[in-house]
């Protein structure tokens, strides 16, 4: 049988199953979240052949939700925020990746990391100051910023500590790499604003500072500032959420999240980096020999299977779609390979269009689970030819204390009962 025929059969099987499930409604999800599973009542009056109660009375009137919220049945799909953090002023909250489809993260589920809490900024009293090695130091209001020619681009954003190298590893995809999200960003290219001020010869870096209680400060190489960096005021069509830097943030596609300074109030053009606390004592990568890598900006190619993934359960044998996300700070994803046999062999996953530079890319592979235990994992290859490494390969070079920039392949173990758990735990 040719591969093509197999694919066709799989697709047919998939289509039939979908139709059956749709018709029956009571078929239940083939993959259930272990914790959040809502068992459908088999004997309910809303099931065929009865007429569902929500068809017998009008629904909520227009205007009952001036700003829409998800269905009450999706209340469990929320940010993954640890309940045992030492403090919540400088902390992070994760995107529930395993609950999401496609490549765009809803604004309410976008991952968060802040170092001095989330400020409440009146946009009328927010200013961006641009000074240092420029011909004309300038101050911009938010109205000014929005007068510049705008651009919208889709890019991922990822925290560099996502995940760390040491156990205990997380249980779910969100626990592991949930400090990752992707959105359509609208703003003005930073280069446009820099041209307005006139960058002087000898300028090599720009120090970016937030208007939060941490006055968070990072230094950005001038090449990035003149390339694809943006000053962003909108995310997925609406103004930035406070957690994402309202009213203005820096976006540096492919660079570690911390550098994408939120609540941006100041850009200082300079000859050398600030060597701020964030870029010396934090966000530097310790190596086994006692040295640390500094200015490790790029997020290297990475992928993870989000379904089936840790914490979920396969409730039926037969067809399952394996799906996940891949991304690279160095450009587009060229391919994603999936292994179903503990990494012994790999096959090409299908990439969902659009495949965009420095954006999440959705991948899929049809799969028949026959009920035998399996270890499944994905690896991303980006347009530079870089191949996502295994954790062992990373640790061999960087040791266990490197903390940041762990882009390892992450396997999921599926047992005979269909329970999916972390393959490294």
């Amino acid at each position: 049988m040719s591969e093509h025929t197999t694919d066709k059969r799989v697709r047919e099987a998939s289509r039939r199953r979908f139709l059956q499930a749709g018709a029956a409604l009571a078929g239940g999800s083939a993959i259930a979240g272990v914790a959040g599973s809502t068992a459908l009542a088999e004997q309910g009056n809303n099931l065929p052949p009865s007429v569902p109660e929500w068809m017998k009375t009008p629904g909520d009137p227009m205007g009952s939700q001036p700003y829409g919220a998800p269905s009450v049945h999706e209340k469990g799909v929320i940010k993954n925020i640890s309940k045992t953090l030492p403090q919540y002023i400088s902390a992070s909250g994760r995107t529930p990746l395993q609950e999401l489809d496609g490549i765009i993260t809803p604004n309410g589920l976008f991952y968060e990391r802040h170092h001095g809490g989330v400020p409440t900024i009146d946009p009328a009293e927010h200013r961006l100051m641009l000074h240092g090695m420029v011909d004309r130091p300038l101050v911009f209001t938010m109205e000014d910023i929005r007068r510049f020619p705008s651009q919208s681009r889709i890019h991922f954003l990822e925290c560099s500590g996502n995940p760390v190298y040491t156990k205990p590893y997380g249980k779910t995809a969100s626990d592991l790499v949930g400090l990752l999200s992707c959105a359509e960003w609208t703003g003005v290219p930073l280069k446009t604003v820099l041209d307005e001020a006139g960058v002087q010869a000898g300028a090599k870096w720009i120090v970016a500072e937030g208007a939060d209680a941490a006055a968070l400060t990072r230094s950005i190489p001038i090449e990035k500032c003149l390339d694809d960096a943006m000053l962003v005021y909108s995310q997925n069509g609406e103004r930035l959420r406070p957690q994402q830097g309202y009213p203005l943030r820096l976006l540096l596609p492919g660079f570690e999240g911390n550098m994408n300074v939120k609540w941006l109030r100041r850009l200082k053009v300079v000859a050398e980096p600030a060597y701020s606390r964030e870029e010396t004592s934090k966000y530097t990568d310790p190596m086994p020999d006692g040295t640390s890598r500094e200015f490790t900006f790029y997020m290297e190619a990475k992928s993870i299977i989000t379904r089936p993934s840790g914490g979920q359960k396969l409730t039926t044998h037969g067809f399952h779609e394996i799906t996940g996300i891949a991304w690279s700070g160095h450009g587009k994803i060229k391919s994603v390979e999936v292994s179903l046999d503990e990494g012994k062999s790999w096959q090409q996953a299908e990439l969902q269009e659009p495949v965009l530079t420095r954006a999440l890319t959705r991948f899929r592979l049809p799969w028949h689970w026959d009920g035998t235990p399996a270890v499944i994992q994905s690896r991303a290859i980006d347009e530079t030819g870089y191949i996502q490494p295994t954790l062992a390969e990373l640790v061999a070079v960087r040791g266990l204390n490197s903390f940041y920039h762990n882009n390892a392949i992450w396997p999921w173990r599926i047992d005979a009962n269909g329970e999916v758990t972390n393959g490294q735990a």
Binding site: P86, Q87, I89, S90, G116, M129, L130, H131, R136, P137, L138, V139, D144, R147, F148, D195, E196, A197, V207, E209, A213, A214, A215, L216, T217, R265, R266, K268, A274, Y275, S276, R277, T280, S281, T284, P286, M287, P288, D289, G290, T291, S292, R293, E294, F295, T296, F297, Y298, E300, G385, Y386, I387, P389, T390, E393, L394, V397, L400, N401, H405
Partner: protein, 181 residues
């Protein structure tokens, strides 16, 4: 004569205006000039060489008092850490299986201490300490790490002159570093 001079001056002025207009055409004319006073109020970042450190000074002794009042709740009585980072000790551990990263063992530049404390600490009231108290707390934390003596008084010049133990501990990014092709 005077009229001719005036004419020439007018011409020069007109040419200058034209040139400015031509240059301005490349720009959008958005934003307004930042005044020196505005810049001075916001320009708080300190270079690793101590550039932009303000006037003033602070002693280890004064720093001990400020630390007790402002810092111990999160960082412990002697900087041993708590809700906040550990600030003291760990020198010699960076190459061990359990590296302890503190101001004393890890931070490469002393002026960064002033920069960070002033901009972000104490966490519940950042930018509330006087420059003198920021110098003092910096001095106290450095003294807890044995980097300055207990009778030290630090100012812009002496803080910039402090050589941190891990100053040469950083290397540039060598990635891609995993060769798995």
């Amino acid at each position: 004569m005077a009229r001719r001079k005036l004419k020439a001056a007018f011409l020069v002025g007109a040419i200058a205006m034209l040139a400015a207009a031509a240059q301005a055409e490349d720009r959008f004319g958005i934003g307004r000039p930042a005044t020196p006073a505005e810049i001075a109020g916001w320009n708080i970042d300190i270079g690793r060489d101590g550039s932009n450190l303000p006037p003033g000074s602070g002693s280890v002794e004064r720093g001990r008092a400020v630390f007790a009042e402002q810092c111990t709740a999160c960082h412990g009585n002697s900087g041993q850490g708590g809700v906040g980072d550990r600030l003291v000790g760990g020198q010699g551990t960076l190459a061990s299986p359990k590296p302890i990263r503190t101001v004393g063992s890890y931070w490469p530049y002393a002026p960064t201490l002033f920069d960070y404390i002033r901009r972000a600490m104490p966490q519940n009231a950042p930018q509330s300490l006087s420059n003198e108290d920021v110098y003092a707390v910096s001095a106290y934390i450095l003294s807890l790490n044995g980097i300055v003596p207990a009778n030290a008084v630090l100012d812009a010049k002496s803080l910039a002159a402090v050589k941190m133990p891990n100053r040469d501990g950083f290397v540039s990014d060598p990635r891609p570093d995993v060769h798995n092709r």
